[in-house]
Structure formats: structure tokens, C-alpha cells
Amino acid sequence: MSAITIQSVSKRFPNGFEALKGIGAEIQSGSFTVILGPSGAGKSTLLRLMNGLETPTTGEVRIDGVTVDSGKLRTIRSKVAMVFQQFNLVDRLSVVTNVLTGRLGHRSWVGSVFYLFRKEDMDIAQEALSRVALTDKAWSRADKLSGGQQQRVGIARALAQHPKVILADEPVASLDPVSSEEIMNLLREICDRDGITVVVNLHQVELARRFADRIIGMNSGKIVFDGSPQQLTQSALRTIYQREGIEDDTSLDMALAYA
């Protein structure tokens, strides 16, 4: 059984915008998939369907055979973790507490509402922090860290959930090249060592080529490419990044020349 099944999914937003137009795919367990595409292609929407932050208008998404719907969000989210472009940490809380929020899906409400955690949870958080090499910053306030460090906290939080799947929505878009390298390496290492399925949204073609097992290219809500990095030729890139209605796209040509 594949980890993630996307079946005939469409998503239309209340303002009429059709983000996804009838797409389907299967993502294998333990694989590292990169979704590539221009802004507005629907990458974010697709990712957010996988952990229930959005619901499909038609079709369904299944994680390990279980359909993602509003009744089962807690169970789904205990298996599916997300890393965000803006890190989405709680600024005023310490790094440790942020990582501990990863355990909230697993803990019943009694202790956690009073900020009480079991020793096992503290150990898991400790482990996650050492995995991302941030143990020395454990008690700092989250907003006092640099961008790269904050994203590592985000990944630690994801790890603390002991997930089967990690989704990363443009995790390096706000980071400098060195931090980006760090984060992508971290994600790849987690996939390889722990066998966690990783799906990453990127717009940097270079990173996609270097880190992905499989690349899914999207444009205007449809999947227009699905294959290995080796198969990502110039013409394939052109299909992914072509803009509607622009026949002679010099910007596109220039960008692809350097990609």
C-alpha cells in the first residue's frame, strides 16, 4: 500500500479559483518526492490536502489507506507532519515547548493543557533537537533564532510527532543558500535513515534535481511531469513553467537557460 494516494482530486476555492483540476498520483512509502512548479500551480494546495488543512471539492486523498476527512484529522495529523515556509512556530514560547507541540496530537488533553508533559515526551523532544543539532538553543525563545535555526525547530517539531509522512511546503523559500542546503540535507537524511515519506514543495529546480527521488511537475492545477530527476529535460521544464497565453516567453527562456 502506498503511503499517499491522491485520487481524482479537484479543489475549487470559494472565490471561484480552481487550484487543482482532477489530479491523481500515488506516492510510495519511504520515498523523497519533490513537487516543482511556478507560483499558483497548486503545489501548496495539494500538500495541504494531505494533512487536512484544505479539503478537496471532489475526489479524495488517502494516507496509508485512510481517507483524509474532517472526522479523522487528529489521527491523520499524528502520522503526517508539516514543515512551513514561515516556520509557523509560536514566537513567545521556548524552542523546547515548540518541539513539544509536536506531541499534542498523541497526548490526551489533561496534562498538555496545563503545559505538563510526561518524561517520554521530553525525551522525544530532546532526541528531535539533537537530530537537528539545536540542543544548545533548547531554552531560547523561538523568535530569537535565525531563519535556518527556526526551520530546524520546525523540523524537530515534525520529528517529535514520530510521523510516517513529512510534508514540507516551500521549506527553504525564506532562507539563504547555505541554510537551504542544510535544511534539504536534513530532510533527505531523515528520509533515508528513518524511512519517513517526504514530500517537498520547491520552486528551485537545482535543489529538486539534487535531492529528489521523484519529481512531480505541476502547472495550473494539473500534473504535467512525473519522473526521475534524470528525466527532467529542458523541454520538460518548459512544460512545467510555461505561462498561459504568453507565446514568446523571453523570461521563461532566460530562466531555463540558467536552471
Binding site: 488543512l53 489521527t75 495529523r77 516556520f87 514566537d91 515547548t97 499534542l104 517539531r157
Partner: protein, 233 residues
């Protein structure tokens, strides 16, 4: 137009200015003979305000998140919580005090309850509005871990608004001290009763003393709460 409707005669006011001058001069000699009793009453008033504020905070803490669109578990709960808070705000504390006095008898307790219920409405609405302003990204971050309503509120909600919330609670405490001073007029304990009596009996000296005690206390509380709020912010 309004002036005519209210049948306010500014002439009588003008004529009365001289009288007013004379009237206020009667307050010139504050009579502090009963000072210790007044201070004790002021103490009761302060205590009433404290309990009222604490009660208001507890209620607002519970209802506030339910009345915040981005935290409420479902739209029905949201509407009900919002309307309840609005209702609590709309009822004047004095009216609530009257009701509670009818149920509990005289004394400071009905006053504290009345203050508590009324200001819970204000505080609750403020909490709800603060929670609605919390960054969507922060909420989604916590949401993505599978947190339920209570966990969302405690981890994404309160840490983000704690400063403002405490500041506003202090403001409410300040306000409650003022209101507690007058609740005595309906028998809800405290210094209001004393002032009403002395004015009725035309004991201007004592009234002046009472007003000064009330004034001094309110000013002290004002400074204290402003100081605390500065330390918070």
C-alpha cells in the same frame, strides 16, 4: 432640539451658577472624624472589585476562545458564545447588582457578582478579538500537529495574547474599583451607601471627606495599574 425635549432650562442653570458656587463651598471643610470607618468601607470596596475582576477573568478565559472565529470548534458555539458575552456586557452592572441583591440579600457579594458578570462580557469580547488577531501561520503550525481545541487555545492562542490580555484585565480592575464605589447605593456593600446617606442628610463635611477618600483610592489604583501595565508592555 434635544435640549427642548429634555426640558432643560439653561436659564435655571445660569441662575443656579451662583447657587452652585455657594453649594460647592459647603464641601470646603471635609470632616474626617469617621476616617477609619471610611477606610474600612473603601477596603471592602476594593475587595469587591478584586473578586469581581477575578470572576470576570475566569468566565472570559473560558468563553473568550469559544467566541473567536478562528478557534471556535463550530459556528454554532461561536455565535452562542458571542451573544452570551454581548448580553453580559449590555446589562448595566447596577441592574445586575439589584437582581443579585434580591437573590442573595444585602452585602458585598452580590456587588462582586454583578461586577464579575458585567465585566466578563467586556473581557471576553476583548479576549476573543485578540485571539482572532493571532497570526494564521502560528495557528496552522500548531494545528498541523493534530492539536485539539483546548490545546490550540493554550499553545497558539494564549502565549500570543498574554501581554494584551493582562493589560486589559488591569484596566477592568481599575474600572471595577470605580463601579464598586457606587454599587453601595443599591445595598451591594461598600462606600457608596455611606455617601448616599451623608448626602441625603446634607452632611456636606462628611460627604466631602467620603468623596476625597474615594478619589484618593481611585487615583492610587490608577497609578498602580498604569505602573503594572508599563512593566508588562
Amino acid at each position: 432640539m434635544i435640549v427642548r425635549d429634555l426640558d432643560i432650562s439653561f436659564e435655571s442653570l445660569a441662575y443656579g451658577v451662583a447657587d452652585i458656587g455657594e453649594y460647592f463651598s459647603r464641601y470646603g471643610q471635609p470632616d474626617f472624624t469617621n476616617l477609619s470607618r471610611y477606610l474600612a468601607l473603601m477596603g471592602i470596596t476594593l475587595a469587591t472589585a478584586l473578586w469581581g475582576t477575578v470572576f470576570a477573568f475566569l468566565v472570559a478565559f473560558s468563553l473568550g476562545p469559544l467566541a473567536a472565529r478562528n478557534f471556535a470548534p463550530n459556528p454554532v458555539v461561536y455565535r452562542v458564545a458571542r451573544e452570551t458575552l454581548n448580553f453580559m456586557r449590555a446589562m448595566p452592572d447596577l441592574m445586575l447588582a439589584l437582581i443579585f441583591v434580591a437573590a442573595l440579600g444585602l452585602g458585598p457579594l452580590p456587588g462582586a457578582l454583578a461586577l464579575g458578570v458585567h465585566t466578563a462580557g467586556f473581557l471576553g469580547k476583548f479576549f476573543a478579538e485578540s485571539l482572532e488577531r493571532v497570526d494564521k501561520n502560528v495557528c496552522e503550525g500548531v494545528q498541523s500537529t493534530g492539536a485539539n481545541f483546548l490545546q490550540m487555545v493554550m499553545y497558539a492562542g494564549w502565549p500570543s495574547i498574554l501581554r494584551e490580555a493582562l493589560g486589559y484585565t488591569l484596566y477592568i480592575m481599575d474600572r471595577n474599583v470605580r463601579m464598586a464605589s457606587v454599587l453601595g447605593l443599591v445595598g451591594a456593600g461598600g462606600i457608596g451607601m455611606a455617601l448616599h446617606t451623608t448626602l441625603r442628610l446634607f452632611e456636606y463635611g462628611q460627604s466631602a471627606a467620603l468623596i476625597l477618600v474615594i478619589l484618593a483610592t481611585i487615583l492610587i489604583i490608577d497609578y498602580a495599574s498604569a505602573w503594572l501595565r508599563r512593566r508588562l508592555g
